[in-house]
Symmetry: C2
Subunit: 370 residues, 2 copies
């Protein structure tokens, strides 16, 4: 019995998740968190109509989902004023990032992103043998000029930018992104991750341009629609680009229940507005708590607030750890200089109270360890 | 604006699903099917307890699922008398096949399967540039000796066998599979697809041997547990093999609702037994209808019956098409000589009546076209 050998690429990889899940933390701690504010989930939950649609669909789960996701694709096309041919449904943006990397990256191909940007994208790039080149954030925002310079320098196949950005919550106005798109090197695909776009000010999302084959935009039901556990994301782009995913995607990969939930969630725009209001209020409250404790909340166009702890990474890590110790699940940026910060997802009253109560205690403890 | 170029492998692929989904058929026909008996789904549905668990989990869908699928993995480990380290949860067997091919196949690597076996496996092999070598079925069963001979001949990295088999419904006793495993060439991994194992006679599944790194077994909640639309499958194997999937899998890819449903479905073994009984009765009934109409039902260890139409492929295609015309969704094997058959999934009373009513009419029409 000789074990089979994995591919040369697989042999370079570690079996490590880009994120430690809160349940993994809870098992290690031996107790649950009281407030789950670390994964930018929507603690406000999905629309009651989406919940009802999923409950209703549960009895139909014996059927595979529609391989074409026809109903959801058409609902999204109507909603955005696009054609269904512009839309690809996938198993969350994570699933879509896997597909786009697989479709375009051969071993050694260059991919450009920002140092400290979404690690799951890097995980997929490494997973297909791509070469990741990074540029630093500039004033806590992703830097389109630097990304383009690097893309030209290494003849990048893919450039990734999130707008609004995670983990900093910062954003660029649409004109900056449009200008970036106009200056993309030939043959380079821009992945514009708009997971948080529903929380951003008017004028953050570029106009749709479905004639441009160099841009793939990604959206999700995981954030504003409160359905992270349903795994429904979508990519928007040129029909030829969208069609190419049919060569590699798992055609019957969607959950029937999740698709029904997404259709209902999209139809309930009143609830989306309510979530947007709730998030805005919670952002203000997190910011206030940060200031009241001598920290600096960064401006946010997302459903989280990144808080500058006004010291070094070691201190931010202590604050994080002291918050976790007090049963508040939060995360922090991985890379300097953003790792001077911690990142708090918005949430309802109860979670905000728990956070407000824990923060001063966590800071006192973190400072005492200094 | 120059469109980005996909990989050399992607350029060899077509954007075609391995299967046409029933919803796609329905849209093309302009009307729904009356009986959905083509995709080997469980028309008997999932356990009411699984439905209730999924309905209950719908409100929690704002949370990503546990990246480790801890509860389900442990429940499966208990059920099978294995360790959780032997079990990998994936987005259906389709998702797991994608992962295993990606983990082991480099362009040009040889992969052995049977001509006319599961096309989604071939789809993934082609998708990673693998070279598919096939051997014929022998007496309507997969042929372990021929698979092994071919594997040795081309130094195969992977060999695929389904036991019981789809699309023929045939099976081998455990000792045949155990003998095949014992004779696997060094460094070759056997994928033993046991999607239909819960419908097979005692003595079909080999004993567990978790010390052997050359076998990966696959099971699913899509068939006997009636949860195809939930997308939960699992692979069982040596801990080192299972661990390697952590290098490439989508760690947060599972639906939270689906995982809860699977745990509840597994716990309701009484319902499984009821489904097994229902399937056995329905198989007998389909076989009887076939015989009553001068056709030959093949023995089945699955939740479908493959019916030999006692003529050529063209005739079987006409029967299929006449059944579809009469609102009965069925499928048939793709490859000769199995494509002399049609394949009918089992189902409850109503579906059986519709099938029994449509079959003689479809046959008359198909014979008239001769």
């Amino acid at each position: 019995m000789t074990a089979p050998k994995t591919t040369a690429i697989a042999q370079t990889l570690s079996a490590i998740s880009p994120f430690v899940g809160p349940e993994t933390n809870e098992r290690a701690r031996g107790k649950p968190f009281a407030a789950r504010l670390g994964a930018n989930e929507s603690v406000f939950g999905p629309s009651p109509k989406a919940i009802a649609a999923m409950q209703d669909a549960a009895k139909d789960v014996w059927m595979y989902a529609d391989a074409e996701c026809f109903e959801l694709r058409n609902a999204l096309a109507d909603y955005h004023g696009l054609s269904a041919d512009n839309i690809l449904i996938g198993e969350g943006i994570d699933g879509l990032l896997n597909y786009v990397v697989r479709l375009f990256i051969e071993p050694g191909d260059c991919v450009v992103t920002s140092a400290g940007a979404y690690p799951t994208f890097n995980y997929h790039v490494a997973g297909f043998g791509g070469k990741i080149e990074t540029v630093p954030f500039k004033d806590d925002r992703e830097d389109p000029d630097a990304l383009l310079d690097k893309a030209r320098e290494c003849a990048a196949k893919l450039v990734y930018i999130a707008n609004p950005d995670n983990p900093m919550g910062s954003w660029h106005n649409a004109d900056v992104i449009e200008d970036m798109i106009a200056r993309l090197p030939d043959g380079c695909l821009l992945i514009l991750d708009e997971a948080y776009i529903e929380f951003a000010p008017e004028g953050t999302a570029p106009e749709w341009d479905m004639d441009n084959p160099q841009v793939l935009r990604m959206r999700t039901f995981s954030k504003a629609y409160g359905m992270a556990g349903a795994r429904v994301g979508y990519a928007i782009g040129h029909p030829d680009l969208i069609r190419d995913f049919g060569k590699i995607r798992n055609h019957f990969g969607a959950s029937r229940i999740s698709l029904e939930g997404a259709v209902a969630a999209l139809a309930d725009q009143d609830y989306l507005v309510q979530t947007q209001d709730n998030v805005a209020r919670s952002r203000a409250r997190i910011a206030e708590a940060a200031r009241a404790n001598g920290l600096e909340p960064l401006p946010s166009a997302t459903n989280f607030v990144t808080i500058d702890c006004k010291s070094d990474s070691a201190f931010a890590k202590r604050v994080l750890s002291e918050l976790m110790e007090r049963d508040i699940f939060v995360r922090m940026p991985f890379n300097p200089p953003q790792d001077r910060c911690i990142r708090i997802s918005t949430g309802p009253e109860r979670e905000m109270e728990l956070f407000e109560e824990a923060l001063p205690k966590a800071l006192t403890a973190a400072r005492a360890e200094d």
